[in-house]
Structure formats: structure tokens, C-alpha cells
């Protein structure tokens, strides 16, 4: 089966869900999510079955890279993320119903829920396209498809001030970054005369390339890419938007969008990094951005009291580590080595997916019993639900990079690469950042396990839906298994 069938299936699933929502009378619209979940599970399995086309002459392949295992891996990340986001969304649906418009008389009480499940499917398709996009045009359209879907999803809770505010912030700043992206694309197109990344690479590598213009274009594109992945100083939107968005969407943003952003970033940066005349400055800028991101993400998280915001900063911090890998200039790479920014980033994102989604899963389960997302409200969780506490503990351990978790390997690979490339500044900053990380991740653990509960605290047990429980267990097992044997994740990269 050709690769591009996957997106088609996902889009079709999304359409089916919309149709079912519109035309089938359902008692409980949550069953729509099941269509998506089942479908995505199938798609995930199909990922292992697809193969590239025999004939790559068609115009289509200008826009869609074939035979690209990295793209396949990122598609997997997108599918898995969406799948788990749907799991969360099911748990979260009462909040959605509550916070969206009250339906008119006679309308379904869960009106508006169906779209909440269907839209992620389209976002997923967009993310998958992004993974394969190898042309400025396809990058642009798929990126925008995803971004616009996210504008909607972030703002979805119309009765919730936070959600609206987050939506507006995301909209304005997202559009701003789109402006820069387009302007940068225009320049890139102008100086290379092409939209195809391969051709752009060739053009930029020419020694007579106008370096000033190329760097100008790079600056513009860097801004937009950094915005998407949340690299400093273009990360400022992240905490606000993450905090306001519905929890499953925050998870989606922080994993799916970031992952796709990174592969686009990688693809867009590669031509510049491959260009002899400018690579020095490009690397230097990437280094500075990486260092700033590490510092901003890790230090800002330290005084944080809101869990969701903390995870937002954590996502910035992780973007810092990923940038660190990216900035470890690939021109010095050892021949034949698989230790490249691409594999390292892919691995890191794979691990990041597991641990971040686990944290968000716990969070969306908690949202059912308490509105507050303050860290303090996780007080006594170890007693209320040892399982949830343990799951969150594992997630935090992995995020902090404690050995024998997937997150640790992510960091090890980054450091391996950075040290191999002698990026000492980044190593030092990364070290400081990871050290700070211990503190703020363990703060959650401290809240759950060490803080005494107070009088007014709810200490009743927490019900966990079987679906969430199974997902959490699967994620925990995956985190630990990958912590022991990182080959499991590398294996998925082919």
C-alpha cells in the first residue's frame, strides 16, 4: 500500500465522523470518538505495512517525499498522538459539553462534541502531510491546515475565558509567524528560483550564492519555525496558549504540533546547513537559539505553580534539547553514522510523546474531579489514587530524564551528539537546564506524595475510565521498556 493512502484514510475517517455526527442519531456522541480511535489504530498498524511507490515520476512526488523512513516515523507520532488525544477527549468531553454553547432547544445535548473529535483527525492528516512535505508549497499548505485547525481547537471552549484568550493569542501570533514564513519563503524562492527543497539545497550550496539574502531568508524562516516548535525567543505564546486550551488539545499541541514543527524545521534548515558559505552563521544562530530555549524553558518553569503551564515550560525546555540536537552542526558528522540530528530528534520526540501524553492523560482524568490545575491541587493524590500518582511519577521521572526511562535516552542521545560535535556551550547550558528540570518535575511528585492534605481537600478515590487506564499502563510500560532498550524506538525508525 502506498504511503499516501494513510492520510487519505485519516481524512476519510474525519469525514465519516462529521457525517455520523450530522446524520446519525446517537445517544452519546462519545461513540464518534471510537470511530476515530479504531480507525487510527488501524492506520497505526498500517504504518508498518506501507511501502514507497515504484514510480516516482508523477508530479505528486514533488510535494510528498517517498521512501522516507523519518517521515514515516513522524507520521506514526502524529497518529499515536491523535489516538491518545482522542482517548483524553473522551474523558474530557463533559467539560467540552459544559463549556461550549448551550444548544438550542431540541438539539442534541452534546451538540458540538462531534466536531471536537473530528477536527483532530484533520489535524492529524495535516501533521502527516507535514511529515512528508518536501516542497515549500506543500509545507505551507499542510502547516497552515494544521495551524488553522488548532486555532479552532484551542478556542473550542467558547464559554471559557481562558480558552478564548488562548485562541486569540495563538491566532494573532500564529498569523504573525505565518507572515514571516511567507515572506521568508518568498525570498527563498527568489534567490534559489525553486520551491523544491532538494533544488533549493543545490542552489544554496553554490559558492556564488548571495549570502546576505540567504541569511535574511533564513532569519525569517527561522522565526516561523522557532515559533512552531516553541524555541526561544519565539516561545512566549506557549505557556499562555497551553494553559488556556482544552487539556487534550494542549497535549496535541505540545506533542503533535511540536513534532511536525520539528520535522519541518529540520527540512527547512537542512539546505542552509548544507550551504558552505553560510553554515557557520546558521549554526551559531541555532546554537544561541538552543541555549536561550534551554534557559528560558527550564528556569521559567521553576517558580511555576500551575501544572499545565509547567508542562508548557517543560515543552519549551524539551524544545531546547531538540534545538540542541539541531544545532549540533551536521557537516561534521561521522560517515555512515546514524547519530544525526534527524535520528536524535526523532527519538527524542518519540520519547517525549510517551511521557508528555501520559502526564496529560493523568491531567485530563483529574480534570473530571477538580477544576483547578494548580500543582497544589495534586496534593494527596498518592493516597487518593496510587495508580494515577504512580503514572504521573513515571511521566515526571521520564521528563526529568531519570535513567531507565525513555526520556533519559532522549537526553543521552542529544548529549552524545552535542559532545561529538564539540558544542560545549550547549552541553553546559543543557546540563544546567537538565539540572533545573529535576527540581520542577519533582515538584509534582513532591506535591502528590509529600504534601500533607488539608482540611478542605477532597480525599475521595478517583475513578479512572478503563480506556484511560489501559492507555496509561501502555504508556508506562513503553516508557520503561524504551528506557531499558532504546532500540525499541530506534527500531521504529527502520
Amino acid at each position: 500500500m502506498p504511503v499516501y493512502f494513510l492520510e487519505i484514510i485519516v481524512v476519510a475517517l474525519g469525514l465519516v465522523m462529521l457525517m455520523v455526527d450530522a446524520f446519525v442519531k446517537l445517544e452519546d456522541k462519545r461513540s464518534i470518538a471510537w470511530i476515530g480511535m479504531l480507525g487510527l489504530s488501524v492506520v497505526f498498524l498500517l504504518l508498518f505495512q506501507v511501502k514507497g511507490p515504484e514510480n516516482t515520476d508523477a508530479a505528486f512526488w514533488q510535494f510528498y517525499s517517498a521512501n522516507d523512513t523519518t517521515a514515516l516515523f513522524f507520521k506514526g507520532i502524529a497518529v499515536l498522538t491523535t489516538l491518545i488525544v482522542l482517548v483524553m477527549a473522551v474523558d474530557y468531553s463533559p467539560v467540552v459539553v459544559d463549556q461550549t454553547a448551550k444548544p438550542e432547544k431540541g438539539a442534541h445535548p452534546q451538540s458540538g462534541l462531534g466536531e471536537f473529535f473530528a477536527l483532530p483527525m484533520f489535524a492529524c492528516a495535516g501533521l502527516m502531510w507535514m511529515a512528508s512535505a518536501n516542497n515549500l508549497v506543500s509545507i505551507f499548505v499542510s502547516l497552515e491546515a494544521v495551524t488553522i485547525t488548532f486555532y479552532i481547537l484551542v478556542t473550542y471552549l467558547r464559554r471559557n475565558v481562558g480558552s478564548l484568550e488562548a485562541g486569540v493569542k495563538y491566532l494573532i501570533l500564529g498569523a504573525l509567524s505565518t507572515g514571516f514564513l511567507v515572506y521568508g519563503f518568498a525570498w527563498l524562492f527568489g534567490i534559489t528560483g525553486s520551491m523544491d527543497l532538494a533544488e533549493i539545497t543545490t542552489a544554496l550550496a553554490k559558492p556564488d550564492i548571495n549570502t546576505t539574502a540567504a541569511l535574511f531568508a533564513f532569519a525569517l524562516i527561522l522565526m516561523a519555525s522557532a515559533f512552531k516548535v516553541g524555541a526561544a525567543p519565539f516561545h512566549l505564546w506557549i505557556p499562555d496558549v497551553y494553559q488556556g486550551a482544552p487539556t487534550p488539545i494542549t497535549a496535541f499541541l505540545s506533542v503533535g504540533s511540536k513534532a511536525a514543527g520539528f520535522i519541518v524545521f529540520l527540512r527547512l534548515a537542512t539546505p542552509f546547513l548544507a550551504s558552505e558559505p553560510i553554515v557557520g552563521k546558521v549554526t551559531m544562530v541555532l546554537t544561541v537559539v538552543a541555549a536561550l530555549t534551554l534557559l528560558f524553558g527550564n528556569f521559567s518553569a521553576i517558580p511555576q505553580k500551575n501544572f499545565k503551564r509547567l508542562l508548557a515550560y517543560s515543552s519549551i525546555a524539551h524544545a531546547g534539547f531538540l534545538m540542541m540536537a539541531l544545532a549540533s552542526a551536521p557537516d561534521k558528522l561521522v560517515e555512515g553514522s546514524k547519530l544525526t540530528p534527524v535520528t536524535v530528534i526523532a527519538f527524542y520526540l518519540g520519547a517525549y510523546l510517551l511521557m508528555t501524553l501520559l502526564a496529560f492523560l493523568v491531567m485530563s482524568t483529574m480534570r473530571k474531579v477538580q477544576v483547578s490545575e494548580e500543582i497544589d491541587s495534586y496534593r494527596g493524590l498518592a493516597k487518593r489514587s496510587p495508580f494515577l500518582a504512580f503514572a504521573l511519577l513515571i511521566a515526571m521521572a521520564s521528563l526529568a530524564g531519570i535513567p531507565l526511562t525513555a526520556g533519559f535516552w532522549g537526553k543521552v542521545n542529544v548529549f552524545l551528539l552535542a559532545i561529538q560535535q564539540k558544542e560545549w556551550l550547549l552541553v553546559i547550558v543543557g546540563l544546567i537546564g537538565a539540572g533545573a528540570g529535576f527540581y520542577y518535575y519533582l515538584k509534582i511528585a513532591a506535591s502528590m506524595y509529600l504534601s500533607p492534605t488539608e482540611k478542605n481537600d477532597d480525599t475521595s478515590a478517583i475513578a479512572i475510565s478503563p480506556l484511560s487506564r489501559v492507555t496509561m499502563i501502555a504508556l508506562i510500560v513503553a516508557i520503561i521498556a524504551a528506557g531499558f532498550a532504546p532500540g525499541l524506538i530506534f527500531g521504529l525508525m527502520g
Binding site: 514571516f180 525569517l220 522565526m223 515559533f227 525567543p233 534557559l295 528560558f296 521559567s300
Partner: protein, 606 residues
């Protein structure tokens, strides 16, 4: 039993006894004490058998092998003239002390523990005596410290006893600090820790300065154990232990260990002049200072303790005066062991009879009530103050003769002065404690002690008189200079001076103290031991406790804050600072984006 087994049995039997008491025998305290005493007797018998056997080294036990076998520490037992003789002294005195203790400690609750301690003490001392290498000696050296800690602190619930035990151990540790450095240096210089090998190699050492330093360091160990200046302070305090323990410590074990050790390494002392001078000077000074301190003490045991110090000063001094001095010192150690054990056990009997009163001014008139004790005590005193023809006379004479002969004037003069002082304070003791009227009810009701106590006294009294004569000293193999005939033919300046000292000292004491109920003279400097304890306390307080407290504060308020808290606070502050960027206003964000892009472009294209 062959020699090999015998030697090992001598060493291990006391340990076995101590361990078995500890492991369960202690439930039957009477049995424990009997087993312990029995084992002491048995050891004595075995030592006598050993003494008649051949010299040599019992098959060693490889305690630890390092460096692929190049460095091996053995537990090897040396049997030679020195060690066999010393073993006899140790076991004989030890047995007698055990015997005496049976009665003395009859009603003590911790009797089992006490006897376990005694056995352990015997084990440790045996180890020192038989050691064939420095490390093994050091091991048992330390064990002696532990045993003394246990025994001195036997009545640990008394503040003074607890403190004394601690003090004894720590003071010894300080000496051991030097000892260990000395051992290491000797090892570095000669390449071996075994006495035999060192003896062969020591002649080839080029860096004599370092060898001198090494020897002085080794001597530090002796300073600690044998309570020489300036580490003598533990010994008087050690009187807090039960009196038989004092007898054991002061007569044949522990304090003797230092002297013994010096004799063991006399081959090094022989070629290190500086170290020898240091040794003899310190010994001489100790003899003098301790005698001065003894003048004004009132506690019967403390007087004896200072006399011990003083006598140890003689012995150590002898080790440093060279050419035969070592044998002379050992000879004095040998004679001293008997009369000092006698004196201590005698005082034990007195104390026992007086219901644990120890101040001589609380006694008086005991001569009539405790005749056996008195007479044995008097014999002991006679030997100590070197009344001619007693054992003490001969051995002291030898030391002073040798010093004079070798031209070591400082030791000689000091020794001579002590010869004047010793008769004085000992006579004072006897007169005050035994003559006149009973000054307290306890003394009044004192009765003669039972045979278990006085039999050891009697034996020791016999030894105190005759041990210097070759028919006894022969088997003890401590006959180096005990050629009485030779001494007779040699009566010269020394002997005359000694006699004068004896007469003057005794006379003065009789004159001053006869019939007195309180001390007619008062010399605070002597009574307060030259304030050395106070000075030490001050030093400990300033240089240890104050510095420690200061460092503790530094640790809490400098190191911890700098190493740990500062980065943490820095991170917190950085976090708080970076939050400033998160103002929540979209336009502010956009502004920062714009500024960042401009900066980026600026940086990239310029």
C-alpha cells in the same frame, strides 16, 4: 604440645575466654570469673613451659596479603629471650590480679564483663609481646587501648570513670598517630615491617635524618602507652578503674608495653642518636615531674600512679641512654612489675577494707588492723624506694650506673633527684595511711582481707624482694644486668648518692608527717599537676572544640550556601526574572518577536 601450638594457645586462650563470656557465659558471672582466672593460670603454666623451650617464630597466620603477596601482614609469634621473659611477667602478674579480683570484685554486678575485659587485656598484651612485626604490634597496641577503655570505664555510670576511660583511649590514640607514622616511615626506609628484617635492613638506610624522625614517631606510641610527658595525663585518671585493674595496667601491661616496644626496636634506637636523646630526655623529665606531682597527692592510688609514671620515666630513659640501657630498662620493668603490682593490690586491699575510701587522710592506723597488708605494702614500698638489697634497688642502680657510664648527664641528674623524692612521698603515704590513729569510721572498722587477697600480696612481696636475684630472674630471662656480684664490686658515687637520697627522703617524711592529721605543706603547683590537665583542656577547647564549632558554622553558612544553596537560589531568581517576559499581553509578545527577528537579521547579515 609443641611450641607452635603452645604459643598460639597462649595468645588465643584469653580471647576465647573473653568471647565466650561475652557470648553467653556472662549469665553466670561466678562461673565467668572462675573460667577467666583459670585460663590465666593455665596461660601462666603454658608460658612457663614456653620459657623453657626454644626460641623461634611460631607458624604465622597470613592476616592480609596485598599487592599480589608482596605486602603481607602476618600474625606471627616471636619467641625469644625478650618476649618469653615478658610473657612470664605478664601472665604471672595477670594471674595474680585475676586471683585478687575474684575477691575484690565479688559483689560487683558487672563481674562477668570485668573478667571478660581482663581476659581481653591479657590477649592484647600477649599479642604485643609476641608480635613479630610492627603492624601486628600496632593491632594489639590498639587492642590494649580498647581493653583499658573497657576496664577503666568499668563503672561507666560514674562520670569520672567514663571520662577517664575516654581520656585514656584518646590520649593513647594521639600517641598511636605518631606510632603509625613511625611504622610507615620505617617501612618506607627499610622496606619491611618485620622486626627481623628491619634489623638487617636498618643499617643500610641512607637518610638517617628521616630514620631519626621515624624513630621519634615510633617513640610517640610509647609516649602514649607508657604515659610519658606530655601524654601522661591519662594515667592518674585511669585510677577510676577498679584497683586490680590499676595494678594490671601499671605493673605488667599497657604502660609496660611502651617500654617493651622500645626494647623490641632497640636496634633502631642504637643507630639513631637524636631519637635516643629525645627518648632519654623525655623519660628523665617524666620521672622528675611525676615525682614532683606525687609529693602532694592525697589519693592513695594517685600517689602510686604518679610513682608509676616516675618509674616509667626511668625505664624509658634507660631505653635512650644506649649501650645496655635497654636491658637495664627492661630489668627495671621486671622488678617494678612485682612491687608495683604489690603496692596496687595492697592499696586495693586497703580501699576494700575502708569501704572504697581512697584518701590517705581518711585512713590511718591500719597497721594494726591489717597487718599482712601493711607488711606486704611496706615491702613493696621498700622496693620502690630502693632500699638496698630489694629488687628495686638493683634495677634502679643499673639504670643510673649506665647513664653515668654513658655520660648522659641530664638523665642521670634527673634520676638522682627522683631518688631523693621517691622515698619522701612513699614514706609519707605509708605513715599517713597506716600509722597514727584512724581518722574515719571506715578506717576504724577496717579488717584484714581474706586469703584470696592476701595470698597474691604475699607472693608479690616475696618477688619484690628477691626478683632481682638470679635464681629468680634467670627463669624470667631478665638477667641482663642482674649480676649482683658485679654491682657489689662497683659501689660508687651512684650507690652512695642513692643511699643518701633514701635516708634524706625517708627522714624528711617521717619528720614532717609523723602523727599529723593533715598535710603540713602545700605546694599547689605540684598538687595541681603543673596545671597540665587544665592547659590541655584549654587546648582541646580552643583548638578542637572551638575550631570544630567554627568549622561547623562555616559548613552550614559558607560551604553549603555557596556550593548548594547559591545555585539553587540563582536558578530561582533566574526563573523569576524570566517570568517577566511572560506578561500575558499579545502585543508585548509580538513586540519581542519583532525585536528578536530584527536582532536575528542584524546578527546574521552584519
Amino acid at each position: 604440645m609443641d611450641v607452635n601450638t603452645l604459643a598460639w594457645a597462649v595468645l588465643l586462650l584469653p580471647l576465647l575466654v573473653a568471647a565466650s563470656i561475652l557470648l553467653g557465659l556472662k549469665r553466670w558471672s561466678g562461673l565467668s570469673s572462675l573460667v577467666s582466672t583459670g585460663s590465666a593460670l593455665f596461660t601462666l603454666v603454658m608460658c612457663i613451659m614456653l620459657a623453657s623451650g626454644d626460641d623461634g617464630t611460631a607458624m604465622p597466620f597470613h592476616w592480609i596479603q596485598l599487592d599480589d603477596g608482596n605486602f603481607t601482614v602476618d600474625i606471627g609469634l616471636t619467641l625469644n629471650k625478650l618476649s618469653k621473659g615478658m610473657m612470664l611477667i605478664v601472665t604471672l602478674i595477670g594471674f595474680l590480679v585475676h586471683l585478687f579480683s575474684l575477691a575484690y570484685m565479688k559483689d560487683d554486678k558487672g563481674k562477668a564483663r570485668y573478667f571478660a575485659g581482663l581476659s581481653l587485656f591479657m590477649f592484647s598484651m600477649t599479642g604485643i609481646v609476641l608480635a613479630n612485626n610492627f603492624v601486628m604490634m600496632f593491632i594489639f597496641w590498639e587492642l590494649v587501648g580498647v581493653s583499658s577503655y573497657i576496664l577503666i570505664g568499668h563503672w561507666f555510670h560514674k562520670e569520672s570513670a567514663a571520662d577517664a576511660a575516654k581520656k585514656a583511649f584518646l590520649t593513647n590514640r594521639i600517641g598511636d598517630f605518631g606510632f603509625m607514622i613511625g611504622i610507615l616511615l620505617v617501612w618506607v626506609l627499610t622496606g619491611s615491617i618485620y622486626f627481623e628484617e628491619i634489623k638487617e635492613a636498618v643499617g643500610g638506610v641512607k637518610n638517617l635524618t628521616l630514620l631519626n624522625i621515624a624513630m621519634i614517631c615510633v617513640f610517640c606510641g610509647a609516649i602514649g602507652k607508657s604515659a610519658q610527658l606530655p601524654l601522661h595525663v591519662w594515667l592518674p585518671d585511669a585510677m577510676e578503674g577498679p584497683t586490680p585493674v590499676s595494678a594490671l595496667i601499671h605493673a605488667a601491661t599497657m604502660v609496660a608495653a611502651g617500654v617493651f616496644m622500645l626494647a623490641r626496636v632497640s636496634f633502631i634506637v642504637d643507630i639513631t642518636e637524636l631519637a635516643a636523646t629525645v627518648i632519654s630526655t623525655i623519660g628523665a623529665l617524666t620521672a622528675l615531674v611525676a615525682a614532683l606531682m606525687a609529693l602532694q597527692q592525697n589519693d592513695i592510688k594517685r600517689i602510686l600512679a604518679y610513682s608509676t609514671l616516675s618509674q616509667l620515666g626511668y625505664m624509658v630513659m634507660a631505653q635512650g641512654i644506649g649501650h645496655g640501657g635497654s636491658e637495664a630498662g627492661m630489668f627495671h620493668l621486671y622488678t617494678h612489675a612485682f612491687f608495683k603490682a604489690l603496692l596496687f593490690l595492697g592499696s586495693g586491699a586497703v580501699i576494700y577494707a575502708c569501704h572504697h575510701r581512697q584518701d590517705i587522710w581518711d585512713m590511718g592506723g591500719l597497721r594494726k588492723k591489717m597487718p599482712i597488708t601493711f607488711w606486704t605494702f611496706a615491702i613493696g614500698t621498700a622496693a620502690l624506694i630502693a632500699v638496698p638489697f630489694t629488687s628495686g634497688f638493683w634495677s634502679k642502680e643499673v639504670i643510673l650506673e649506665t647513664a653515668l657510664h654513658e655520660g648522659k648527664m641530664l638523665p642521670y641528674v634527673c634520676g638522682m633527684i627522683v631518688a631523693f623524692l621517691t622515698p619522701f612521698y612513699m614514706t609519707r603515704l605509708v605513715i599517713v595511711a597506716f600509722t597514727g590513729k584512724s581518722r574515719t569510721g571506715d578506717a576504724d572498722h577496717a579488717k584484714e582481707v581474706g586469703p584470696i587477697m592476701w595470698i597474691p600480696l604475699a607472693i608479690l612481696a616475696f618477688m619484690a624482694i628477691f626478683s632481682a636475684y638470679s635464681f629468680i630472674s634467670g627463669p624470667f630471662q631478665a638477667n641482663g644486668h642482674a649480676d649482683i656480684g658485679h654491682l657489689f664490686s662497683h659501689i660508687g658515687l651512684t650507690a652512695i648518692l642513692s643511699l643518701v637520697g633514701l635516708i634524706v627522703g625517708v627522714g624528711a617524711a617521717v619528720f614532717l608527717y609523723k602523727g599529723k592529721d593533715e598535710d603540713p605543706i602545700s605546694i599547689p603547683l605540684f598538687r595541681d599537676k603543673f596545671y597540665i590537665d587544665e592547659i590541655y583542656n584549654g587546648i582541646v577547647r580552643v583548638f578542637q572544640d572551638a575550631v570544630a564549632a567554627f568549622l561547623d558554622i562555616a559548613d552550614r553558612f559558607i560551604i553549603d550556601p555557596v556550593v548548594a544553596r547559591a545555585p539553587a537560589v540563582g536558578a530561582m531568581m533566574a526563573g523569576s526574572f524570566l517570568r517577566v517576559f511572560q506578561v500575558g499581553n499579545v502585543q508585548a509578545y509580538a513586540f519581542m518577536f519583532g525585536a528578536a527577528v530584527v536582532a536575528l537579521i542584524f546578527f546574521l547579515i552584519l
